[in-house]
Symmetry: D2
């Protein structure tokens, strides 16, 4: 063939298989979303539409990659954990990282108009991604706890900050100065005493982020043994377009799920481990305390 004398360049591609038997945690992060959110008029400190859009993109990703067993999102980031035995793309690092980040990005744009029907995109947003390997369940649980603790801290800070700016008439510089060095309890107190805000009454979505996991399609309201006391359902803050799993939003073409990778994904995963069809459910529950994991003993076992 004509090109064969150049084909040696393919020899520079090096294998990059990820260590077997470890959990893959893939996190996507919005690139320069501070600016993106300003340019597109996101509400501060939280924009319901933007959070629902993130959840929507994440659910598209989990619909496509069945070996993702759990997702967690806050602000402009989302984390996914693949079961440790996944053989997706033979565990090739670049292939998994780039494909998942690309699909998340693509869904973010594809679902944009559903969640921001009045706001045209002014330029294409992008995300970076990374994969971190964790050898044991304990570390995966602590990873998610780490992200949710981050959600708590950020949201408390941002809520106090924007209260000072929007209702306290401080400049952003002044607001930062007001909050410098304060403890969580002081921010709670400030919100309550100055603005009458009981922080714990804020929507759980803002305080706890979004937890995405699979349930069987019969969709029993609660899993056996589930401690529903710390589960706050999506119903509290329904997202337009993704509220009840895969129901298409009216302004979308009928073919709205993401089909192209499905066959390969199906072929590669062990069919025996997942027999019944599942749907991805969005919760805003605590995942720091052990209850969440105790109620789902098989979540990370596969």
């Amino acid at each position: 063939m004509a090109g064969s004398r150049f084909a040696y360049v393919k020899n520079f591609e090096l294998p990059d298989r990820l260590l077997p038997g470890t959990f893959l945690v893939l996190r996507v992060d919005g690139h320069s979303f501070h600016r993106f959110s300003t340019e597109h008029g996101f509400s501060k400190p939280n924009d319901e539409r933007a959070l629902c859009l993130m959840d929507h993109a994440a659910r598209d990703v989990m619909d496509e990659f069945k070996d993702i067993v759990l997702g967690f999102g806050e602000s402009d980031e989302f984390s996914f954990v693949f079961r440790k035995s996944t053989s997706l793309y033979n565990r090739r690092h670049a292939k998994i990282l780039s494909t998942v980040t690309s699909l998340f990005t693509s869904s973010y744009l594809f679902r944009w108009s559903t969640h921001f029907p009045e706001t045209p995109l002014r330029y294409p947003p992008s995300f970076d991604g990374r994969i971190v390997l964790y050898p044991s369940e304990k570390e995966v649980q602590d990873y998610f706890a780490w992200r949710q603790a981050d959600t708590h801290a950020n949201n408390l800070y941002n809520t106090a900050f924007w209260a000072l700016v929007q209702r306290g008439n401080q400049t952003t510089t002044e607001a930062h100065a007001s909050l410098r060095g304060t403890m969580a309890s002081q921010k709670h107190e400030l919100l309550f005493s100055r603005f009458g805000i009981n922080y714990n009454d804020l929507p759980s979505r803002y305080r706890k982020g979004s937890v995405l996991l699979r349930e069987e399609d019969e969709a029993s309201a609660s899993l056996p043994g589930d401690d529903t006391s710390n589960v706050e359902q999506d119903q509290e803050h329904p997202c337009q377009g993704i509220h009840n799993a895969n129901v298409a939003a009216p302004d979308e073409a009928p073919r709205e799920t993401v089909p192209q990778i499905s066959k390969q994904g199906d072929a590669k995963r062990d069919r025996k481990t997942r027999v019944s069809p599942t749907i991805v459910k969005v919760l805003h529950c605590d995942i720091i305390r052990a209850d969440f994991w105790l109620a789902r003993p098989d979540l990370l076992s596969g």
Copy 2:
């Protein structure tokens, strides 16, 4: 801080800096685009709109990442080479790979309606990406020659194949059988004798793919020493929306370039190496023969 007892999980992130002094070649590939092209009614063997859309996304990427010195695209793939001294993101592998793949994807969707105004997206397309390191200019040149040789071979095959199907009334199975084992010269002969097609008269875009490189904004029509005899300009097949560099298509919001990464990119590259503003130009010229490189002795030197 509340989350500090979990922060140890960050310790599992391992550094992934790419070897300094080597060229980074990043290639994105459409994921399951055989199906995607069918579902969205792409013309066969080549869809002018789809190729222009790829070029458009690629140019957005090159507008954003100034250390990319050359791009080459064909079909549903695009390759970019970064100058070997790039310190983009401190040469972190996952960061570069995921961000570039994400932006390419994002631009592909963002520009979709410009190139397919009549065809709504039915589902979000995705791309995978990979980075390969090349130590020397010779290997980079051979890499691009390898891709363009691939373009030649694929396009000749596909042109003959679809002629047999569309005009020769063969089934796809019959057409594959007709072409099995044929030499390039036999396919040329078949196209000419049976269908009156002189293969070399086909648009250079189809036969040679798209070559994206930077020119100074004064945009002299030809570079000094350039052998224009093998350069076929974009004018032959103008792409809607990207024809003359950054001119916005009319149906887009005025703010159409990709701003969010620019500042960082600017800060990180060596300002001395690129003083004058450049625009990205699309050519459909030969890059296998030495002429292309001889006319641009500094292209890979930086």
Copy 3:
């Protein structure tokens, strides 16, 4: 400084930290030991001196690197597992791999004359090494079972092979042909019927390899809960020079342990995890069945 303009070359050294929380298994293998054993007159199928020399070198390694919790050797190879929390050399891959392989090699030569007092070294032998990461205890146990199963298979084959050659007057080619395709049971039968050898009466060192682990210096003869029925002590085949742990062989200089790395090693490991001094003990016991691990529940826990 004079050399500072060249110091940029240090920037090409890339970090290579091994994933935390995983067991490091390091295996050294004799390089071209088929020839080495022939040139130095090793007995076939097993040379007691050579095996004791390997054990001796392995014990030097374990005396030096306190985070190795278990070693297993057969023929010209030895495997070591580091506890999963080891922070030796900050888990730098090349540093650990090269230093341990080097020390093993060095000890092999240093101890040579103890075990081969009549046989001068004709040329310097070498070993290669590799590190494999295992995320869980189960995989580490299976790794060691894999090596011991290999010992069984190889030793049975070699015992039958050399019986045919040495006592059956077959050529090596004929002996290989005789054994081709035979089952283990057939080799047992052949050894017994033709040569009166009851394979299971052969020294356990030959059949099971060498298991090196730590015991407290009080050196109680058996660990609590140990199933001694499958433990065959070193006493059966005492090794000259290493028989009872660190007692120096008479023909060695008094200073015979390996001091140079100790301080660093001590400094780096967590002092709390190993309080009492330990000695390395050599056993020739079964490590395939669960008993070995059940008797030592903490062996891989650290």
Copy 4:
């Protein structure tokens, strides 16, 4: 086979091929040689015997690995560069690193008694090793310049330091204090004015380290175009046992070269590139200035 149910553990071994087309620089470093040199009575600041032993081990390595084109040693370290096209062990990182470090270590012990006939080894010394990749000749030249600049700086300091201690009756603490912050010129002056030492008259081996390269076996005294003014031959300070290449020292067994890897090494390298037999020669010449490289234009070309 009995062990097959455990063989899955082999799947955790990940490929580690080094990027093609790059120079491999492998450096071995003595482990805790400060102590080792004290325990074995090395002369300060330089021990002729110890340096010759290092050269000897290095030459054994280069006799074995024909793709090493240049070596450089000082103190307790040695660097080797493999030609960039080497396919040794399919460029597997751990295999190359561990085998070369092991052979260097092994030769160091094997040759010990030749260079230290009166000094028995008290314990086994070890070396660590690392491999760094360099994409171009320029960087390899700068790497070696960096090491030789280090030799200059260290040797000047050590010479001054030990003069102050041995002849100036300073304590080591005082000597360090005397030298703190001094320029090179001040150390030259101190050596000359206080101790009558003209630094530049010291043996070139001490000031410039050892440069090992191959010459054809006809061993013409000078290479064509060689600038012999900066080449100081080994004859000035002959090393016992390695003076004229592979001549065996009298107290060694006749079979003193390292045979075991040779066949594989020969098979793997491109026979066309090295037709005539070569010997490894030890020089103590300048490799910082361009002359060395200009005189050997093909040294790094292969």
